[in-house]
């Protein structure tokens, strides 16, 4: 069954810092739908590595600035 991913992200903050880039704008720049950007932001979908790198490239930051994964306790 689907469950919320443990991967977190700062896409919303990065969009805000990038002149309040819209979800639709980000979606068109990385070649996915706006609903997919929403799902990624809300942690309902973990994107492929390729899309993850594309998102990082759009904001001009390393991948780990966009996505984080909690270390095992």
């Amino acid at each position: 069954m689907a469950k919320k991913t443990r991967i977190t992200n700062d896409i919303r903050t990065l969009r805000f810092l990038a002149d309040e880039m819209t979800q639709a704008d980000l979606a068109s720049r990385i070649g996915v739908t706006r609903q997919t950007v929403i799902a990624i932001e809300q942690g309902r979908y973990s994107p492929s590595l390729e899309v993850a790198f594309q998102i990082a490239n759009v904001f001009g930051v390393p991948l780990e600035k966009v996505f984080q994964y909690p270390e095992e306790a």
Binding site: A2, V32, R34, Q35
Partner: protein, 148 residues
């Protein structure tokens, strides 16, 4: 809600509605028609099947036109492109649907081996295909809502 999600929801409703009508009518016909007489029995429900398919095609066309009009009025265009998330949802849902189809096919096989007529076997197979489609569409909506 994306174009594909709306499309899936509408088609799920349409399939449930149309096939509920079909199976109700089929059972009514089976009470009076000679349904155990081989291929001729299938001919007794052929018009019903034709109406069912035509109704589904009609619902699909009208529903997608309405969805497109609503999308254009709300967001200026129709975004029916599929991306990696849509494809993953399709794949996972197809997998769930194929389990239902396999179980249904085994049930039909059992029916044929135990002497059920072609009429009942054909309808059971159709039922399995419809159930498979319903399972697939239900999982698609679940994955769109809850995440994949």
């Amino acid at each position: 809600m994306s174009f594909h999600e709306k499309s899936t929801a509408v088609m799920l409703g349409g399939i449930i509605l149309v096939y509920s009508w079909y199976f109700t009518q089929m059972l009514a016909i089976a009470e009076t028609a000679p349904v155990d007489e081989g291929v001729a029995a299938i001919a007794t429900i052929a018009p019903l099947l034709g109406i069912t398919i035509a109704a589904l095609v009609g619902i699909a066309i009208v529903a997608h036109i309405v969805i497109a009009i609503v999308d254009v009025s709300r967001q200026g265009d129709v975004d029916d492109a599929k991306d990696e998330r849509d494809e993953l949802i399709d794949l996972k849902s197809e997998q769930r649907g194929s389990i239902a189809l396999t179980i249904g096919a085994l049930a039909v096989l059992t029916m044929m081996l135990t002497g059920f007529s072609m009429f009942w076997a054909a309808n059971a197979l159709l039922g399995a295909m419809v159930l498979s489609t319903i399972v697939k569409a239900s999982f698609q909506l679940y994955y769109y809502r809850r995440g994949v």
